[in-house]
Symmetry: D2
Subunit: 346 residues, 4 copies
């Protein structure tokens, strides 16, 4: 099967290519970048030297669409919603890694992203790709909207508790921490090495664009309208997201019920790993893999449950989950090409 990547010059684009180079059934035959057309990707990312001769095209042409089975979009928000059309979707399946099809409500999208959406109709057709919770719909998707990195880690942490009605939904707090690669490869004072190294900070308090996406996902999981606190922080490291979630248990809910909710949700899911008794997730153990590691504690003193959820922001939080979804959309086993163990030390 043939795959194209639009906007392949960024961290997520090259990560898609890297993972797909080991995929047994899909082959990347086209990568695009407006600025870098004609250059080999190995000139930008030396890791590819000797492994691929692929060069950036300026764009996907109509004739390419005929040959391709899948197109991944790694574009700035506001661009993908104009790139995808019904005409395109008649020829190729599209997986959008960006934000354009994540928020189902057009007005909410436009308010948080400050840009006009290209197609309300496609917005409705797009299938949200939090794989663990939307598998059946994903299998039939033509246009797949891949979740944000924070919403992935947050959704996996919160949904089992909401679905089983174990927590007071108005008490949910998500304190999230991400490595720098989440900000992309673009340069700015904020990603200068000497400004990030040996530093830690919060940003976008109460205003981060992943907030409505998380609220939408959690609301759908339990049928209640959820408003929550989401606070992202920047970690002095390359990769990894850890979300610390807090919520008050409903009256009478036991630790056993909490344990049961997570076991029921994830015992048979290939990419969620529940930590053994006494252990806590660490980002280093998911780095380089598509796993989400999960643990929780019930604190009887405060009647709260605290959940820790870890992912590699570029894999389960972006390129890996996109391929997991591609596998489902193609009718292949979900794990195909995604089972390599993350290297340590990473």
């Amino acid at each position: 099967m043939k795959v194209g990547i639009v906007g392949a010059s960024g961290y997520v684009g090259q990560e898609l290519l890297r993972i797909l180079l080991s995929h047994p059934k899909a082959e990347v035959t086209k990568i695009t970048s407006r600025q870098l057309a004609g250059k080999k990707i190995a000139e930008l990312y030396g890791s590819f030297a000797g492994r691929t001769e692929l060069r950036f095209s300026e764009k996907i042409e109509d004739k390419d669409l005929v040959e391709l089975d899948f197109v991944f979009l790694a574009l700035p928000h506001g661009v993908a919603s104009h790139w995808v059309t019904e005409e395109v979707l008649r020829q190729v399946k599209v997986i959008d890694i960006g934000a354009d099809f994540r928020i189902k409500d057009k007005a909410t999208y436009e308010a948080w992203y400050q840009t006009e959406h290209g197609s309300e109709k496609l917005l409705k057709e797009a299938v949200y790709g939090l794989t663990e919770w939307n598998r059946e719909a994903i299998k039939g998707a033509k246009l797949l909207s891949n979740p944000g990195c924070y919403p992935t880690a947050s959704g996996i942490a919160a949904i089992p508790l909401l679905k089983e009605g174990l927590i007071q939904s108005e008490t949910i707090i998500l304190d999230a921490k991400s490595g720098v690669s989440g900000a992309g490869r673009g340069v700015s004072q904020g990603v200068h090495y000497a400004e990030v190294n040996e530093n830690f900070k919060a940003y976008g308090i109460a205003t981060h664009r992943h907030t409505p996406e998380i609220e939408q996902t959690l609301s759908e999981s339990c049928g209640e309208s959820i408003t929550l606190s989401f606070t992202p922080h920047l970690l002095p490291m390359n990769r990894g997201i850890l979300v610390t979630m807090y919520a008050n248990l409903k009256a009478g809910v036991s630790k056993k019920q909490v344990d049961q909710a997570f076991q029921t949700a994830y015992a048979d899911q290939p990419f969620v790993r529940i930590m053994p008794e006494g252990a806590l997730p660490e980002t280093k153990w998911v780095k380089g893999s598509n796993f989400c590691d999960l643990a929780w504690r019930v604190d009887e003193r405060t009647n709260r449950v605290i959940v820790i959820s870890c992912i590699d922001n570029l894999i389960k939080g972006a390129a890996g989950q996109a391929i997991q979804n591609m596998n489902l959309m193609a009718g292949w086993p979900e794990e195909l090409g995604l089972l390599s163990v993350g290297q340590f030390p990473g």
Copy 2:
């Protein structure tokens, strides 16, 4: 004035010595370490080469007490409470950097620290040294109990809101992140470079020993008995603590009242810096200094206040605050020897 440091071989001990080398009125004349007696501190910490010839003694002798005005204790918990006696306190003022005199209730101390306390009487006499909130008592202290690093950052964030009765005290959550130096210089798998670098994790969820200390401090500030959630995390960096605090506002409380509470509390405090409008604290700006940087956001969607508080864990979180307290105990200006600007990049 002459100063001794008991247990000077660790990160806090050497930091005390470093800062005091530039102090205009205090001179360190004695440092001890049981294992390293006879060695020069410059052999352990090359930064001191050419600046001090001080060598570790095995211990403080009775004759030393006569000469010393202050003794700082940087000892493992359970040791200091036996080291300090009324006899000692007749000769010298003691500032304990460790945990032994922080928890006022002996049973609570013994339950959380799993060791017997040496003296209930001295426990009552010890003055808790969160300088910004206990200045007058500190001035007259003979035995000063220096706060923990997390309790310092947490107390400064929470007290103004509790004191003014603006938040629902049962909703307080403290999500805290610390650099590795907080764990001390001792070796273990957990502080191996390749295990910490490029990693982030939570630890001690709902069980960390700073929890009762924070609860005691906050409870005293408002006269209510407070139970809260405190979750520490380990950052891949040397120094710095950032605490993200969440609390629900009481009904009808306005952003203006929140602003006012912090302004009233800290506008005239030399070591608390309220960030300018729109800015958020970052650990790099307090690294190397005794400052605590502070900002907050009122989120009307959730009716929560989110407070960010940053300190250098070895300075305001340990050695710096101890010297701030020494200054007060000696009748000197609080800022003496503590005003150097932290270096950047740190």
Copy 3:
């Protein structure tokens, strides 16, 4: 084919296992660790959770030897030379990742490693596994001695110039820099995070044990007895070695001859990548892969050639090259299981 790993609890052992989990023809069925017998490797390295249930055995039993085709030894020096016997080699092929069979001269080995060698006879039989320069002998090896990390990067840099007689051999200087994982997982003050982070140092000047190994390799390549300067340094990062080599060109040698020497040596080698004109190797592009990246400059002002050589110390410098050698010993293509692209950012 079945593979065992003796001493699998260290960084190299787990890296062997990680890479072999994706190998199409070899399966690890046995891992040993004296201290950790009975534990699952996933308890030590959370990255393996969900991917392997392998547990450490105390040791390889005689009955295991019958079933195994290859045994990798990742043991402290002085141990492997006693573990391997002719009896063992009759049943299984052995690849020693440690130092015991690298130095051909027993007296030299014993002088530098300060331990008695177990078998002069096997020392002679062992084949040195710098794959690019010993491929034919490796194919027939029963006992393979895998090169050290520094000698691998150094050998690849220097041999083409020596073999073609282009440099004055007495002027060779190797200034080498390595990430911390090269020191292994054992704990010590020297690998404490806060001691390594934001620090750089040289160590073992003129006394490092890889010196005689490098000299032996280079001497063999040109038939001269070579004495050189080798200076290792410790980088504040997890993985990667970069060697900067200096040598004076012989009179009349041109840049073209230098270029030709490297092209001849490596144009057809699957794991050596010559950088494109104008580019220089960086450790990040080899991290996570078995590649050695190479570039050189001829400085006419000083009549010197400067060569830069980069590897991932745990892969091409240890586990990866060991598997490359295993592939040859088994009669498989050299690249089998070794072609995954290193992740970036790493």
Copy 4:
């Protein structure tokens, strides 16, 4: 005494200000930045909040010159040589931190820096400020040219051996490694956190602009014309330079003579620390201080001396040495304001 800093928005400018805030005799009253005129420096560097209200002016006006005693220039090369005039020097002493007055030969300067020099006359008058080797001239300087960071560490390592005629000057190799702050605060792909972190590379092999400056300094020290190899590398850390120098000893030179040369040169110098027997310099021990740490090994096998020299690139390599020179030019003790111990962990 009043001090101005032209181009104070960069890392060196703010470092000058930071150190001078603790200087007992000099006060910074003026800082300039064309782009940032009107802004407080504390807005750019939060570390200054609460410690200085200084704002950037667009430039130094004529009336400022009357009031100022010293002006430090931290400007891009090619700018300072036009800024300084004889008229200016009649009113104020100037210390140029940049490169414009370092290379005595105008043609050499223009060839390496690819810009026209503003004043050959002032170039001749400028005094080169490698303090340890030019103290008497510095005392009388009106225009001081502060050395580059690499030339400082290199000069301190090499001069004693050249001056005493102990090494073969054509064999000198300087393999240098620097933290990222040496590249300044400007943004580019090359200083993006995720590109630098976990990476190590060489750059500017045989072409770095500090090469002619080092050669000039070394040549002057011994009266020979020296051509050497200088290879800089980029370390994944904020601050610190370590230079590893190699040179062949002249026939018959003993280790004792080498030791003697360094002892004679530096035993009485306040900012050069010779490491104790058996120890080697590490950048962490000089970080945050004006010290240069030094050690050497004589390798009898190769008849080479290997010297290790460490500095903080922003202090002894820039702002600190500039203040050391200011102290001398003002007739004060050289150490004034420069003796604070670097913090650890840094």
